[in-house]
Symmetry: C2
Subunit: 229 residues, 2 copies
Amino acid sequence: MLAKSFNIHIDNQDLLDEAFTQASYVNEHKGQNLKFYERLEFLGDAVLQLIVSSYIFQRYPKMPQGRLTRLRAAMVNEKSFSTFARECTFDKYIRLGRGEEKAGARNRDSLLCDIFESFVGAVYLDQGQATVEKFVQQVIFPKLDEGMFAEFFDHKTELQELAQADGPVDIDYELIDEFGPDNDRSFKVNVSIGDKLFGVGIGHSKKAAEQRAAQQALTHFDTEGDNLV
Amino acid sequence: MLAKSFNIHIDNQDLLDEAFTQASYVNEHKGQNLKFYERLEFLGDAVLQLIVSSYIFQRYPKMPQGRLTRLRAAMVNEKSFSTFARECTFDKYIRLGRGEEKAGARNRDSLLCDIFESFVGAVYLDQGQATVEKFVQQVIFPKLDEGMFAEFFDHKTELQELAQADGPVDIDYELIDEFGPDNDRSFKVNVSIGDKLFGVGIGHSKKAAEQRAAQQALTHFDTEGDNLV
């Protein structure tokens, strides 16, 4: 299955079996000397942390550390990893004990996240870090451009985080103008922090105008312009 | 300095400067377009996590995930990294603003830990992961054999963790015998959990006998015998 989808070949089939085997399955097959995925998950987690860290470090050369840390947390978590595991159809290959199967573990986010990491651990051990990087380039990185983490790159959210870093302040978006024909209407929005004007934005919707106003306001903060997406 | 101690050569001097420069120094030298270490620290942290994870994964092939995670946490933290930074005399090379210098930041564990990570981030970018691995093999891994993390490998502590995993239980060590001449005395200790005997140990001190008794008791738990140090 993997050979087809990602051009990944694993020599050691035992390692691949281990990556997809839950402890409940091992307990039901004592004497077969099977291993379960948890150690590989430990390793795979660290491999993914580094590959993602290294990628966003290079891709966003001016993004400050705090935002890099938050972006990595938005990419490396149970929700996203379970999504990737489903996309890779890893759920089909998990070996579960009967009780866990009945309890619906096969579709549980936490298990799918674990399996995504253990799979990466197995590939890392068997084929090396470069092969994992190729896999991640296909499975994780395109999601940045597809908008999976769009919330993170939201200018209004970022402005709120930065403006309120030292305590609560009022951030107001005010529609100050509308112009143009009905089928090509434009909106102009001011954003103020406290009572001071920080930015102006124009767009074809109020939402777009607010985003642009927030983007302009961000230039007042020392964020080193990390809005590259 | 680094070339001498660790056979590390860094081509990009700017990167090395960045690794050793705190924000306070940059603020006092505006216009020089300097960078501070925080982004490199972000990267170095992930590099160190993976290298340490990979090493202990291989070195302790039967250590379960939970213990691997705790061992990594014992190795990768502010206390140990600041110790390594001092051993590498990194404190001498940090560039601080005057206020921070006066406040004693140069000897602050949190800063030294950050600098250890940012240095690793710089080496990783400039020379690659294999060079960092060589550095870590000299600076961190020998500490396992030198007993820096001995507390982690303490059998009594491990027994307590495992026995009390599902709630509090009584663990009793009882001296049941002493024998041999005064200059070569031996002690025999029983360890019971609840009211059941779990292990017996003999040693030349009560402490050593207790450790052996705990070690034997551990074989009753499914720890896969990870007491390799």
